[in-house]
């Protein structure tokens, strides 16, 4: 759950920090609408489930020391392993 990087399918990486998330990555609702404080708190102990850019459900893999979450359109986000 430390710094997150995104690997695009081309294999390059860029940070998501600073990019406006359109969708809450936990509940999949609009990030700008409603209160997502509970989502943010829950995310301390959960990987993301929805792509913040397009709201697709991501393919998430959890390993003992980290996780990855892949959107077919927007690439893979990883925790710091």
């Amino acid at each position: 759950m430390t710094a997150k990087t995104v690997e695009s399918d081309a294999g390059t990486t860029r940070t998501v920090e600073g990019e406006a998330a359109l969708w809450c990555d936990r509940c999949g609702e609009r990030a700008a609408e409603g209160d997502h404080a509970a989502c943010a708190a829950a995310r301390e102990l959960e990987p993301p489930r929805y792509c913040p850019a397009c709201r697709r459900r991501m393919k998430v893999q959890v390993l003992p020391a980290g996780w990855s979450a892949a959107c077919v359109e927007h690439g893979t986000v990883r925790s710091g392993y």
Binding site: P47, V60, L63
Partner: protein, 331 residues
């Protein structure tokens, strides 16, 4: 001192005979001010009959989501609108997960799949995965793949899987409220086959599914009757989209009562902290449980949710002067 604790001291601590259902219920009903006494006794029982070592384990999901069963607590059932998508782990990632686990000093690595029972694809993945782990990592391999046929039991033994997890989840009388796609008795059948095969039996469940205290005591007694090598104790972490998604989490005090009661029912078992302890007990409660009958932990992340860092648990064990069980002690 409440009478039940005097009885438990003579019977469980001194003679190693676990409490029966009525005894467990009496412990679960102890008033708050006697919970520390129950934990203290459970800790003495654990030290006397198991010793100070703590068994450390890591787990990973080999096949996530899309399960045809309807366990109402589970985010991996394909029957609910859970955000968890179906995905398979490849063999290199499985080996990586085993390495991450071994790096913590853990002796156990459990491979889990969200299935009713294994199909040929899953058994093939297990054959390749277990062989790859055994070639590269010094760790005991356990598995949790749902209900098994006798052939599958035999095959897992042949692969070198030394322990099999299959949770009864809750008491026999409450089970139909939680699962409708298979029965408690079907789970029991798999457990019997596993036991007869010589694999170690790992069987526990989840507290906080809506069961009564009486059903919690019933569950402890049913587990004691099974007499598993290991009992993983989970506390419900309500998952979005599941039928139990809005249930409250178990109160910390009730979780601690249950830990003491389960230890007093099963003095010799490996009683493991599994999922949900972070939200139910937090850091302080985690410590109380380790001083109240728990003698094993899952470190690192769970199957679809995250745990606290393994280092936090290892530091706590160090602080409590509880040595991590060595691999040589498990062989």
């Amino acid at each position: 001192m409440p009478e039940i604790l005097d009885i438990a001291r003579a019977q469980v601590l001194e003679r190693g005979t676990g409490l029966d259902e009525a005894g467990v219920l009496a412990v679960l009903r102890l008033p708050d001010e006697h919970v520390p006494d129950a934990l203290q006794l459970a800790h003495e029982v654990r030290m006397r009959w198991c010793g100070p070592e703590v068994e450390v384990e890591g787990i990973v999901s080999l096949k996530t989501g899309g399960c045809p069963e309807d366990c109402h607590f589970c985010s991996q059932s394909g029957l609910f609108t859970s955000p968890v998508r179906s995905v398979w782990l490849d063999i290199p990632s499985l080996v990586e997960a085993a390495k991450q686990t071994a790096a913590t000093g853990a002796t156990e690595f459990c491979i889990v799949a969200a299935v009713r029972g294994p199909d040929e694809r899953l058994m093939k993945q297990m054959r390749e995965g277990v062989a790859a782990i055994k070639a590269e990592v010094d760790i005991q391999v356990a598995a949790s793949l749902g209900m098994l046929s006798q052939e599958q039991v035999d095959e897992l033994v042949e692969m070198g899987v030394h322990r099999y997890n299959h949770n009864l989840e809750t008491s026999r009388t409450y089970f139909p409220n939680v699962v409708t796609t298979h029965s408690w008795e079907e789970r029991w059948d798999t457990l019997r086959m596993v036991r007869d095969s010589g694999m170690e039996v790992c069987c526990g469940g989840i507290l906080g599914l809506g069961e009564t205290v009486e059903q919690r005591a019933e569950f402890a007694a049913q587990l004691a009757e099974l007499d598993p090598h290991e009992v993983p104790l989970n506390f419900l972490n309500p998952r979005p989209g599941t039928p139990l998604g809005d249930r409250p989490v178990v109160e910390g005090k009730d979780a601690l009562r249950a830990i003491a009661a389960f230890r007093l029912a099963m003095p010799r078992t490996i009683l493991r902290y599994a999922g949900g302890r972070e939200i139910t007990l937090g850091d302080l409660g985690t410590r109380d449980g380790l001083l109240g009958g728990i003698n094993a932990v899952i470190v690192g992340n769970y199957l679809t949710t995250l745990g606290r860092p393994a280092s936090a648990d290892l530091e706590l064990l160090d602080d409590l002067k509880m040595p991590v069980k060595a691999l040589s002690a498990t062989l």
